[in-house]
């Protein structure tokens, strides 16, 4: 009887170790303490789409160990091309742990359970707050640069944003009056005060009509209310991939095309990830406003 | 009792089929593996009140359904003689058939609390087509039917508030409202008290005598014997006996089919059947 039990126990142990071996093809060693390595030689994993964008822009490919799987989907990420050849993780511990990275980058909305688990396993996890204003963004980029060991590249990126912004401000001063506009986002939502979009509109010399309606943040408004505020311009976000989306059906309403209203379509959506695309959006906004 | 000559005369009529309103030959119906109707011939002539009798499960209801054109038999055909021209029931337009022949189901339960009058008016559906305007003919037919069946005082009552007997009479009024020539009724007196049992049987008899015909499945053998001009005794889907009531309701026939011994007493005012004991 006793021998049988011990036999079973041994068999179970063998099975478990075999399973572990297949689960972790690379050898699992305790993660090296990050202090021992200079930040320019870190092996980095990101589990956030927006951080992937910065990572791909600022860090050489060889050091990026894995990016979030959504980054390879062109519908969400303008940098899908650049993820070729990289391991895509789905934000699951079993994707990340066997790769034994030196640094794991997570956004503030990444799965809290995952972050806790990784920390318990003694990995270095950096949780970054996602930016909500232009100054946030530049600070965010600079901080990110230091973290991944490319402070100079980050500095240049932040500078370029600031420069574009200055140009936008300069053009605004040349403008005679302000342009009345709505930033009309998906699902018939307009963008109000205390948003990045509102800040951009101000820099571009555009009066956000949502402010007249005391809208803060994001609010769905009725189409007739929108029309009756007499916007000269309606800013919409277009996406590169023309996949059907009910949220975008609102923009197709014929009433929007009437009464001399102009529709400006920005190439990328700020609502998903603002930091990597901000410079492009400002540039596009400049050319559009210049034409006015 | 009919004289022999009279009997011969009626037999002759059946074979000639002059006055046949309905005739069916070699009907066969199987449901699943069970043979429900087995090689049955039925004819119904003008002025006849035919009683369909037999124990539970003998195939009375199924036979009525087949005759009414609600079920297709596997073999055999039902012919209706509308305006002296006979044709197979499947070839007759449903509307034409409905004007000629009405069917009263055994457990007809209306779902909505219609008023008595509205329910009786449904009997007119083969005739009228207009949602807003009932014709004068319709009104008269509905009114007559309600008077005949004694439900005219209930005209505005919802049928959900009626007693079983009142409901049955209302349903019968629905049948009469369609002024059919031929009525097929499945146990029309099952839920009625004595008074209304007699009343309904009289009405059906009157329908038969006024140039129409009735074929009804009945359980009450005494009433069947008294009112029907002819009985058909069914057992296990077969016709066991057919003809004049007293010829059919012999103690031998009854014991063979129902499995009870009976005392049958033929009297001036009807046939009295007293069940004595079960014999199987």
């Amino acid at each position: 009887m006793r021998s049988l039990i011990s036999l079973i126990a041994i068999a179970a142990l063998l099975l478990m170790s075999a399973a572990q071996a297949t689960e972790h093809p690379s050898q699992v060693s305790p993660p090296a303490s990050p202090q021992q390595l200079s930040s320019s030689s870190l092996k980095i994993v990101s589990i956030n789409l927006c951080l992937d964008g910065l990572l791909l822009a600022l860090v050489e490919h060889s050091r990026i160990d894995s990016v979030y799987y959504l980054s390879a989907n062109p519908q969400f990420s303008p940098f899908a091309e650049q993820t070729k050849g990289l391991f895509l993780n789905r934000g699951l511990a079993e994707d990340i742990v066997p790769r034994n990275p030196d640094l794991i980058l997570a956004g503030e909305f990444s799965s809290a359970e995952l972050v806790t688990l990784l920390k318990q396993l003694k990995f270095r996890v950096e949780v970054l707050a996602l930016p909500r204003s232009i100054s946030d963004i530049t600070a965010h980029i600079r901080y990110f640069g230091k973290l991944v060991g490319n402070g100079n590249g980050a500095e240049a990126m932040a500078r370029s944003i600031e420069q574009q912004l200055m140009l936008l401000n300069a053009e605004q001063r040349k403008q005679k009056g302000k342009i009345n506009a709505f930033w009309y986002s998906s699902n018939g939502v307009v963008v109000g005060a205390e948003t990045l979009e509102n800040e951009l509109m101000q820099h571009a010399g555009i009066h956000n009509l949502a402010l007249d309606k005391n809208i803060t943040g994001f609010k769905q408004i009725d189409l007739e209310e929108l029309i009756l505020a007499r916007p000269q311009v309606i800013i919409v976000e277009s996406s590169d991939i023309e996949a059907f989306s009910l949220a975008r059906e609102y923009i197709k309403h014929p009433a929007l095309q009437k009464n001399n209203t102009r529709i400006i379509a920005l190439p990328s959506s700020l609502s998903v990830c603002s930091a990597p695309v901000l410079a492009d959006v400002i540039k596009e906004l400049r050319t559009q406003v210049k034409e006015f | 009792m009919m004289s022999l000559a009279e009997q011969n005369h009626s037999l002759e009529k059946i074979s000639l089929g002059e006055n046949n309103l309905l005739s069916a030959k070699a009907l066969q119906l199987t449901l699943g593996k069970k043979i429900v109707i087995d090689n049955v011939d039925v004819t119904v002539q003008k002025n006849e009140f035919v009683g369909l009798i037999g124990p539970n499960g003998a195939g009375k209801s199924s036979l009525l359904r087949v005759l009414a054109g609600l079920k297709k038999p596997q073999t055999g055909d039902v012919e209706l003689c509308i305006n002296e021209c006979s044709s197979a029931i499947s070839k007759i337009l449903p509307l034409q058939r409905a004007r000629f022949m009405a069917y009263l189901a055994q457990h007809e339960t209306p779902v909505w609390p219609l008023s008595v009058k509205n329910l009786v008016a449904l009997g007119r559906s083969p005739w009228n087509g207009n949602v807003l305007q009932a014709t004068v003919d319709d009104e008269i037919a509905i009114d007559n039917a309600m008077h005949m069946t004694d439900v005219h005082l209930l005209a505005d009552r919802p049928i959900t508030e009626l007693s079983g007997g009142e409901l049955q009479r209302t349903l019968l009024a629905r049948v009469f409202a369609g002024s059919p020539q031929l009525i097929l009724a499945d146990e029309p007196i099952a839920s009625l008290d004595l008074y209304h049992q007699l009343h309904v049987m009289e009405l059906l008899q009157a329908q038969a005598k006024s140039g129409g015909a009735v074929i009804a499945a009945l359980h009450d053998l005494s009433l069947a014997a008294r009112f029907c001009s002819r009985l058909i005794l069914l057992h296990q889907g077969k016709v066991v006996a057919e003809g004049e009531p007293i010829k059919v309701l012999t103690p031998e026939n009854i014991s063979a089919v129902y499995g009870v011994s009976t005392h049958v007493d033929c009297r001036e005012d009807g046939v009295l059947i007293i069940p004595r004991m079960r014999i199987f």
Partner: protein
Amino acid sequence: MQKNTFLYLIISLLLAVVMAFLASLSIGNQAISIMQASKDLYQGNESLHQTVVWDIRLPRVVLALLVGGSLGLAGAAMQGLLRNPLAEPGILGVSSGAALGAVIVLYFGFAASAWYWLPGAAIAGAFIALLLVYLLAGSGSSVLSLILAGVAINAITGAMIAVALNFAPSLFALQEIVFWLMGSLANRNIHHVYIAAPFIFIGWFLLLSRYRFLNALSLGEETATSLGFHPQRERNILFVGLALCVGASVAVSGSIGFVGLVVPHLLRPLVGYKPGRLLLVSALGGALLVLLADIFVRQLDVARELKLGVVTSLLGGPFFLMLILKTRSRWI
């Protein structure tokens, strides 16, 4: 006398619908004069008034009328056909069947290829769901088996919608469709009217023309047959009519629930419980209810639009419970 009350009922409902229609055109979210809008339209001026009334409000109001009428009518017809007061396109999963068809077409890019794809697919979905209901529950079945059939079909179509959306190219599809399914008429344009109206009109015609059969069917299928109807044919026509009405409505408005339950139930006593007469008045009543609910929705100033289907469900849900309690003893 009875005929007259029916006529008066129709006339008063018609008047109410016309008034609600005009009210809905004039008292939208913003103060706008329809007189001015009509003048601008007549004179060919492109003005804000004209845009708001004719481009924004009119399609919405016309759709409220069409969809409401269809749902009320479909409810009455289904109740007549299944001989059950709890039958309703939403409860029995016919609307979700239509939604499944619509979702597949919308998210896999067929909707863009031709205008009839969207209503066509929704109608096909509704038709299949109807057949399933009929197979599962049948005519004159108990309330219990009918509701269970509805639960089953709703569950199946719900799961199939989720599966379909998982394969959809747009990853926000699932979240979007959750809101879409709640039913709304916000920001619809005249194109939506064009794609729904032809099907809806044919559906109305088919359903309304079956009034005599539905009357006769109150006595059961056999008796209806004996009264000179061809049940198979009549039922097929009703199925097609129901699928057209519900499918085309769902294609443009999502599923607006319980209209087909509440309206026929309230109006039934007024037409002497005749299922045939109930059809026309339920169509009018349904149009009235949806018009009023849509006016109500537009008066609210909230961060996220209150969905029309949510309002009708808030009205209809308790009503449904009450009906179940009331009919429990009689029909189960």
